[in-house]
């Protein structure tokens, strides 16, 4: 067989295998297959090693080369801490009052949900998807669909798992969707990501009075994400292209550039806070 024909044949065989793998990927479940698991097990230490070197460089930059304004920032943070402590005292009082009122109305008490801390060991390799890799997987109880958050707010949802790693699709990815509410007006909408790194809240009632500055939180109505998790703050409000709904550009609460760990919220059998009257159906 001439050399050129042989090379084309090799290419067609490999390309055809790739097409078969690509189309079979759409019908697979979200747990890593038998071929992928050894790859993640072998490559996880490599990524942790690269991450360690990068982290060392980052710490050197932050702690030794970027200390010019550390003193001023320290003073500012101390004053802010004092303000937060005063505010916390007021909020604790309101929380106690809220608990008493909820008991009076015979509503179920929401408990702290079990969660699992995980280190971020990598991010999307190509940069076209907003995704991170964490150091926990299905062996630790992580399942697809579970939400992940930081102390600041919701980060994303688990997209797929392998025994010792998991991929989290961030809320800033255009393919992400989270059922949310505007905190002040209680209007519902679906939050998805934008290419520039922000988020957009779509399908909000056109009569809504939401405005820039309003907080957005999770609604809990999908049964997987707890109600009341901070998502972000509204930056601007517009009408959708067809005028049937309002859309709001949302600045995420979580700082994706600085986060190093996330908490994966593990589900429980009763699900999360659902609409009143439907709790006993779970």
């Amino acid at each position: 067989m001439p050399r050129y024909t042989r090379e084309i044949a090799i290419f067609l065989v490999i390309f055809g295998s790739g097409i078969i793998i690509l189309f079979s990927a759409f019908s697979k479940g979200r747990e890593a297959g038998p071929a992928s698991r050894p790859f993640y097990q072998v490559f996880k230490p490599v990524m942790e090693a690269f991450g360690g070197v990068t982290g060392g460089g980052r710490d050197l930059w932050r702690h030794y080369l970027w200390l010019v304004d550390a003193g001023k920032e320290n003073e500012r943070l101390k004053q802010e801490l004092d303000r937060m402590r005063s505010r916390q005292t007021v909020l604790l009082g309101r929380e106690r009052e809220h608990k008493r009122l909820k008991q009076l109305l015979d509503l179920k008490e929401r408990h702290e949900f079990p969660s699992l801390a995980a280190m971020i060991i990598g991010e999307d390799a190509v940069g076209w998807y907003r995704m991170i890799l964490i150091s926990r997987g299905s062996e630790d109880g992580v399942k697809a669909g579970m939400p992940a958050a930081t102390a600041e707010g919701l980060v994303g949802k688990v997209a797929s798992t392998s025994p010792n790693t998991a991929k989290i699709l961030l809320i800033t990815d255009p393919n992400s969707s989270v059922d949310c509410r505007v905190g002040r007006t209680r209007d519902r909408g679906i939050l998805s990501g934008l290419l520039d790194g922000g988020c957009i809240l779509r399908y909000v009632d056109v009569k809504s009075t939401m405005k820039p500055g309003d907080d957005v939180e999770t609604s809990g109505l999908d049964g997987m994400v707890p109600k009341g998790l901070a998502v972000g703050r509204i930056k601007s409000v517009t009408r959708s292209s067809r005028g049937m709904f309002l859309e709001a550009v949302v600045e995420p609460a979580a700082d994706f550039r600085k986060m190093e760990e996330v908490l994966v919220v593990l589900g429980h059998e009763g699900g999360f806070d659902v609409r009143p009257g439907l709790e006993d159906m779970r």
Binding site: I121, A125, V126, G127, Y129
Partner: protein, 168 residues
């Protein structure tokens, strides 16, 4: 093939971790494409194709893309590189950088198009601008990385003996 395997592991590790520290995610250069283009222009056909396909599968596992998409993109890039090599002079650095920029442009459009089928992704100037900037950043990184790969490959050849800088 040993050199390509080692280079692929280093590039994959850097692509998924360290590069995010230097570049914002939306403009992260595709250094694995630089490696695929270099291998397609320098090493023998089967080695370059194997690197592109298997490395592409690894990239799929380390990203949010459906498994097989990046493997196909890199494989097609490796084949095109081989065809260009047999028909044109490819030892000019500007030519290699141009090929990298075109390859990243093409892969970007394919990925955005595939995402468009999956969800409400805008396909206007923000997407196109991002693809163009990313291609240019990849070209700039290629200008630094390609000579390093050439020198490393020549050094590797001297250490282990056998093949030299180019395999034709």
């Amino acid at each position: 093939m040993v050199f390509l395997t080692f280079a692929a592991v280093v590039v994959l590790g850097a692509q998924a971790t360290s590069l995010g520290f230097i570049f914002p995610m939306e403009y992260k250069p595709d250094i694995f494409m630089v490696l695929v283009i270099w291998a397609g222009l320098t090493t023998e056909f089967r080695s370059g194709l194997g690197l592109a396909f298997l490395g592409g599968l690894a990239m799929d596992l380390l990203s949010g893309s459906p498994i097989g998409l990046l493997a196909l993109i890199y494989t097609a890039s490796a084949l095109l590189c081989h065809q260009v090599r047999t028909g044109f002079r490819t030892d000019v650095p500007a030519g290699k950088i141009g090929i990298v920029i075109l390859a990243v442009l093409a892969s970007g459009f394919v990925v955005v198009l595939s995402r468009r089928f999956g969800g409400p992704l805008g396909f206007g100037w923000p997407s196109a601008g991002r693809i163009v900037v990313r291609a240019l950043v990849s070209g700039m990184v290629a200008a630094l990385l390609l000579p390093v790969l050439d020198r490393s490959y020549r050094g590797f050849g001297r250490v282990v003996g056998g093949r030299g800088a180019t395999d034709r």
